[in-house]
């Protein structure tokens, strides 16, 4: 395993993602002799994980089961231990494209934070690119460096523990792209320019407040950056479920027999539900043998997914 290269089988030292159900995943450092507790029981690494192919179903000690997934930057983003606020995949996708990242790109980033974006950048620029990432918080910088090593991407990244606003990125004239996610990005704009190749490159700054954006745009214009554009991407996640709406009772219609109306409306309703019929019986909770009714009242895709993966 590596975050920049797929492999088929789980090995000692890998980081694997345990998929427990929709929106419920956890990362696991695979080690001989180690055990991981999940709500479906314990997973013994030596027998349950090592040597098994990624994507396998693993039966836990309590009889429940989980899937073990190969790590990707996207899975890591939703499972990583937070040391800071992180960037999520929707923004990361846009940043990667707008910065025109590709294999071979040299990228500067600050701050490293929890390394959510860093992993995505590394995935994209491997095997010939390099990431220079700057984090002024010593402990965070060390932990990020440690993680890069564990994830076998340390050959592609240099972590520097310094203040990017004061000391810059530690490199000059090499970057194709610069990314800023710091409280005062306008103070780092001149360093961003210095870090870039003399033929130019692309820069992106991520800010929650419009005042920060305003100041950054001014600083960018002052440093003769062109084609400045500000944008926001919003993700909408759709639940796939069947909705059946009750029909109002208009009372008896003297012109028609009431029997007929009832017959008319009934098949319509089943028609709507039929699409979902196969998924419907797999309601949550049933596999646990606890309660026959779903613990979560909303009959949405999330619940269904949860269960279909645990039935055997």
């Amino acid at each position: 395993m590596s975050f920049v290269e797929y492999s088929d089988h789980i090995q000692d030292g890998d980081t694997a993602i345990i998929y427990l159900g929709h929106d419920s995943m956890m990362p696991v450092k695979v080690q001989h002799g180690a055990q991981t507790q999940t709500r479906y029981g314990a997973i013994r690494h030596s027998t349950d994980l090592i040597g098994k192919p990624y994507g396998s179903k693993v039966t836990c000690s309590k009889g429940g089961w989980v899937h073990v997934l190969h790590p990707t930057p996207e899975l890591w983003t939703v499972t990583l231990p937070h040391r800071t606020q992180i960037l999520y995949t929707t923004d990361i996708a846009m940043i990667t494209m707008m910065l025109e990242l590709r294999p071979g790109s040299i990228v500067c980033e600050s701050g490293t934070g929890s390394g959510s974006l860093s992993h995505a950048i590394l995935r994209t620029i491997a095997p010939t690119g390099h990431l220079h990432t700057v984090e002024f918080h010593q402990q965070r910088a060390e932990m990020a460096a440690q993680e890069f090593k564990e994830h076998r991407v340390d050959h592609l990244v240099t972590v520097r523990n310094q203040d990017v606003c004061k000391d810059g990125f530690g490199v000059v004239g090499v970057a194709d792209a610069v990314f800023l996610d710091i409280p005062s990005p306008w103070e780092a704009v001149k360093h961003a320019k210095a870090a870039m190749k003399k033929q130019g490159g692309r820069v992106c700054s991520f800010s929650p407040c419009i005042e920060q954006v305003q100041r950054t745009c001014e600083a960018l214009a002052d440093q003769a950056f062109e084609e400045i554009s500000t944008l926001e991407v919003l993700l909408r996640v759709h639940d796939v479920r069947t909705a059946s709406l009750p029909l109002p009772d208009f009372g008896s219609d003297p012109t028609e027999t009431s029997e007929k109306t009832a017959a008319d409306s009934a098949p319509k309703q089943t028609n709507v539900t039929s699409q979902d019929h196969d998924a419907a019986p797999r309601d949550p909770g049933s596999h646990l043998g606890t309660s026959p009714s779903p613990p979560n009242p909303e009959p949405n895709g999330r619940n269904r997914e949860n269960v279909s993966s645990r039935r055997f």
Partner: protein, 472 residues
């Protein structure tokens, strides 16, 4: 860096390069060919002068469509008018504020005045300009600049630029795939160097090109194509180095079933290919006949003229035969190559260990997804694009039935641009719905305890009974 000189050459425009022209928010892909006219924004341009300059250089279009380098001095707005009004209470729209008439402006243009100078003239001859607020003055200049400034920027193509270009110019050709949606696809499918990715698209090759860009020539891309030939006009616009071609493979989607059932035989001539070949040859023969007739007629005419002198009919026939033979040989070679390509692609697919799957286009995604997922290794991501949500809902439900996938998500993204200026910051526009929808997920190992599907089919039944029992 030591190889700065080398770096430089990469950033300079060369003859034959594929480039993108940009003015305002409008893009157009073009190739740098000497003495060749390119039409852009209702103007003829010769790109000859761009050769040797850096990418992202802005040029002014001079008379006759030649490009003139724009000096940075000219880029700055020359309007030194510091006088400005506070509000518009005294500005009346009488239609007479501009003293220059249309004819005057046309004349200025004919005199070959630069855009900047025309704008200055317009400002000087506007009676209300000085009363306008500072912001209104800015806006006025900006508007005029857009109209009279004849500039074009030359960019290096990238998936960012081409996706924006396609969405702006020909959204129908890429099924209205907006660039932010494409960005999500590349990320959700974990496209990266060294992997083996399946692509099925009818988006002019934009998606294929985007995937190739992200793989940087490492690994392999297998394009599954419908019909007789893979169509990818957009891939050229990316201007990939030639070695990127080595990672690109193609496989006709009509042979997927044969490949899945193991009846596809690409080594020796198998019936399915033969039948396809014979159909093709029949078609080709017809085409060739037409070709020969078309080509032949002028030649024959000229020959006829000379034949009066010495050429015999026999020789003519011989010639024709020879030509036919050569064509047949060529066709054979082509077919052989096609067969080889398909065999290579089939060999790549046969392991059923592909690392990613990207589907986008006008075909119903459901059968495509269910068919192609079988080529993916377990624990690999896939992503399906559709302009409409409904087919993806169907896919979602079907995948739940079939199993073998987790983390299914049906999503779309909204994109909002902002105007950021001192005291004038506001959102620009909200795009929604039009950008299309994505269904993404991860494959997992299929459960071997129910290969016949018997367990699964049986299991829900009692539950259903129970449900009806409790309800009834």
């Amino acid at each position: 860096m030591a190889d700065n000189g080398d770096d430089d050459s990469h950033c300079r425009i060369k003859e034959g390069d594929y480039v993108v022209l940009k003015r305002g928010d409008i893009f157009k892909a073009a190739q740098i060919q000497l003495k060749k006219k390119v039409i852009f924004e209702k103007q003829w341009i010769y790109l000859d002068n761009a050769v040797g300059h850096f990418y992202r250089t802005t040029f002014e279009i001079g008379s006759g469509g030649t490009l003139l380098l724009k000096t940075p001095k000219e880029m700055e707005s020359s309007t030194a008018a510091k006088e400005a009004g506070a509000d518009n209470r005294n500005i009346v729209d009488d239609g007479k504020s501009q003293k220059l008439t249309r004819d005057d402006i046309e004349m200025l243009k004919e005199q070959g005045l630069k855009g900047q100078e025309i704008i200055q003239q317009l400002i000087d001859n506007s009676s209300t300009f000085k009363d306008k607020t500072e912001y209104a003055q800015d806006k006025y200049i900006k508007k005029k600049k857009k109209k009279y400034e004849n500039t074009v920027m030359i960019l290096k193509p990238s998936c960012r630029i081409l996706a924006m270009m396609y969405h702006g110019r020909e959204p129908g050709k890429i099924c209205h795939l907006r660039h932010d949606t494409l960005a999500q696809m590349l990320t959700l499918a974990n496209i990266h160097a060294g992997s083996k990715v399946l692509v099925f698209e009818t988006c002019s090759g934009l998606v294929l090109g985007a995937v190739m860009e992200r793989m940087g020539g490492f690994g392999s891309v297998i394009q599954m194509y419908p019909g007789g030939e893979p169509l990818r006009p957009g891939v050229d616009s990316f201007g990939f180095p030639s070695h990127f071609r080595d990672m690109l493979h193609e496989f006709p989607i009509c042979h997927v079933n044969a490949l899945l059932t193991g009846t596809l035989n690409t080594k020796t001539k198998d019936p399915s290919i033969d039948s396809e070949k014979s159909v093709l040859t029949a078609k080709d023969v017809q085409q060739n006949k037409a070709d020969v007739e078309q080509q032949g007629s002028p030649e024959e005419q000229s020959r006829e003229a000379s034949s009066v002198a010495n050429t015999s009919d026999d020789q003519e026939k011989e010639d024709r035969e020879k030509r036919k033979e050569a064509k047949a040989q060529e066709r054979k070679a082509k077919q052989e190559e096609k067969r080889k390509k398909m065999a290579a692609a089939a060999a790549l697919l046969d392991g059923r260990n592909a690392d990613g799957l990207v589907i986008a286009g006008r075909f119903h995604p459901c059968p495509v997804l269910l068919g192609l997922l079988k080529f993916l290794a377990p624990s690999r991501p896939f992503v399906v694009y559709s302009q409409h949500k409904e087919p993806l809902i169907e896919c979602y439900t079907k995948l739940k039935e079939v199993g073998g996938t987790v983390s299914l998500r049906l999503t779309d993204t909204w994109l909002r641009h902002y105007q950021v200026m001192p005291n004038r910051t506001h959102p620009l526009l909200l795009m929604s719905g039009g950008g299309g929808y994505l269904l993404s997920g991860t494959t997992v190992a299929v459960d071997h305890s129910k290969p016949a599907g018997s367990l699964r089919a049986e299991e829900p039944a009692p539950k259903r009974l129970k449900l009806t029992n409790t309800e009834g």
